[in-house]
């Protein structure tokens, strides 16, 4: 399908069938939107040439992804406890609505064995250490990494490790180990001190910004050119979140992500009436992002990465995140869930690392679930970029993994348009 949009008086045409982006004048944009506009022969010839080249009005794929049951990644809930008490935490401040507990090594070891056993011919496996706060169980984390590397080597496989941490314990041996072993580290920091401290509090109710900022800065410095993301969350209380992203960039972080909160807490939750302001913030952020890039002060903002040339293949775009089929989360008990956002919700328990996947019906549901099972996505230009959204968000907000959540959709579309505009500006500078 053809999607036209205007960004600061520039007109763009995105063709979802071919995945191509074009820039055009207003008249052409109106014509391609279906308005009755009189076009010259030359103008129509330009359009026809793009159509013949398969770059405009191209048919969209309807091919279902190849079904595979080979597992690829685990999210290891190494610690169901946290040393912070963030108000918006979807994980119930680390406890996931159950007792606070640590994963013993026996479970982590069984998880490694499970992933290797279930991975079929895959060579590269992924293991994410998640919580709560994973560094509260650093001993087991370390032991698990060493065990997984050893086992993978024996079987001609390789693990990519990642972790998400709030930074409170990120120093000394822990920092050195993460820097050495982790392919990517996601560091939680919400932006301006007052914004961060309003929600990310210690157990005694104090803000945590001052406790983590230097540790996170030192870690990023130590990291050199290895991957990391400083990842923030914005809520209804900081709808001016572009200031938080730019604050983080000004603090020297050059790999950033800022996510809308996932909560139903009334004073924090993102609601429909917030969308105009949120979209305006994304534009504001995008303008500054482009400006800084042009000045040689580039920072990577995850949601403006729209890699049209080298992005994922259609197979990946259609099959989406793989939760519940090639990706599972593992609780401290060893129980398996489709992903971390379903963790602890008994109806989604899929089995255990000791006994394997017991709920073949659920696995089948997730394996066959794809972009084309999401009927509301059919007429959306963004479908091959967002892949129909997050299963868990869809389920928690709309009651069905195949029912996209309209608020997330609106933000997603805006970010994609911003990313496309930023890409066009980059191309224009490169000429």
């Amino acid at each position: 399908m053809i999607h036209t949009f205007c960004y600061h008086e520039k007109h763009y045409v995105y063709d979802s069938g071919s995945g191509s982006l074009h820039e055009c004048d207003e008249k052409t944009a109106r014509y391609l939107s279906g308005e009755p506009v009189s076009m010259t022969k030359e103008e129509l010839a330009e359009i026809d040439a793009l159509k013949r080249a398969g770059l405009l009005g191209a048919p969209e794929t309807k091919a279902r992804p190849i079904k595979s049951h080979a597992a690829k990644a685990l999210c290891l809930h190494i610690c169901h406890d946290c040393n912070l008490r963030c108000k918006y935490c979807f994980a119930d401040e680390g406890a996931y609505h159950a007792a606070r507990e640590m994963m013993p090594f026996s479970v982590a070891k069984a998880a490694v064995d499970f992933l290797i056993r279930e991975s079929g011919d895959r060579k590269v496996l992924e293991m994410d250490f998640f919580g709560g706060e994973p560094l509260m169980n650093f001993g087991v984390l370390k032991e698990t990494v060493l065990y997984a590397k050893e086992e993978a080597q024996k079987r001609g496989k390789k693990f990519l490790f990642t972790t998400t941490t709030n930074g409170l314990l990120l120093d000394g041996e822990r920092a050195e180990f993460l820097n050495e072993e982790m392919e990517n580290v996601v560091l939680s920091l919400d932006g301006r001190p007052e914004v961060h401290d309003a929600v990310r509090k210690t157990a005694n109710g104090k803000g945590s910004f001052a406790l983590v900022i230097d540790k996170i800065k030192n870690f990023v410095k130590m990291r050199g050119d290895k991957h990391y993301y400083v990842r923030g969350t914005f809520t209804a209380k900081n709808l001016d979140f572009s200031n938080d992203v730019l604050f983080l960039a000004d603090e020297g972080f050059d790999s950033l992500s800022m996510e809308p909160v996932v909560t139903d807490i009334p004073d924090l939750a993102i609601r429909e009436e917030h969308l105009p302001q949120i979209c305006a913030e994304y534009e504001k952020l995008c303008d500054e992002y482009i400006k800084r890039e042009a000045e040689g002060r580039y920072f990577n903002f995850f949601h403006f990465n729209v890699d049209l040339e080298g992005g994922p293949c259609l197979e990946k775009r259609v099959s989406a995140c793989g939760a519940g089929n090639e990706y599972f989360s593992v609780l401290p008990s060893g129980d398996l869930y489709p992903c971390h956002q379903f963790a602890g919700e008994k109806e989604w328990r899929m089995g255990s690392v000791f006994t394997g996947v017991e709920r073949a019906d659920l696995r089948e549901k997730f394996a066959t679930n794809c972009l084309f099972t999401r009927k509301k996505c059919e007429d959306c230009f963004a479908k091959f970029i967002c892949s129909g959204g997050c299963n868990a968000n869809n389920y928690h907000f709309c009651g069905d993994i195949n029912e996209p959540y309209p608020i997330t959709c609106a933000m997603m579309k805006k970010r994609i348009e911003c990313g496309m505009h930023a890409l066009a500006e980059r191309r224009s500078r490169e000429k």
């Binding site: 982006l21 820039e23 052409t28 990465n305 049209l308």
Partner: protein, 50 residues
């Protein structure tokens, strides 16, 4: 006037499954496959640059 800004590179292999799990890349809350890059293309580009 209409000019092409970007079009997908022709992929030699699709569905190889080498790409990272989306959710673990940066956000853990909002799966966005299109914000990722193809691992194979990225790797090949790195080799070309070297």
């Amino acid at each position: 006037m209409i000019k092409t800004i970007a079009k997908p590179a022709e992929k030699k292999v699709t569905g190889c499954g080498e790409c990272r799990s989306t959710c673990q890349s940066a956000c853990k809350t909002s799966c966005t496959v299109g914000n990722q890059s193809c691992e194979r293309i990225t790797r090949e580009q790195k080799i070309e640059k070297k």
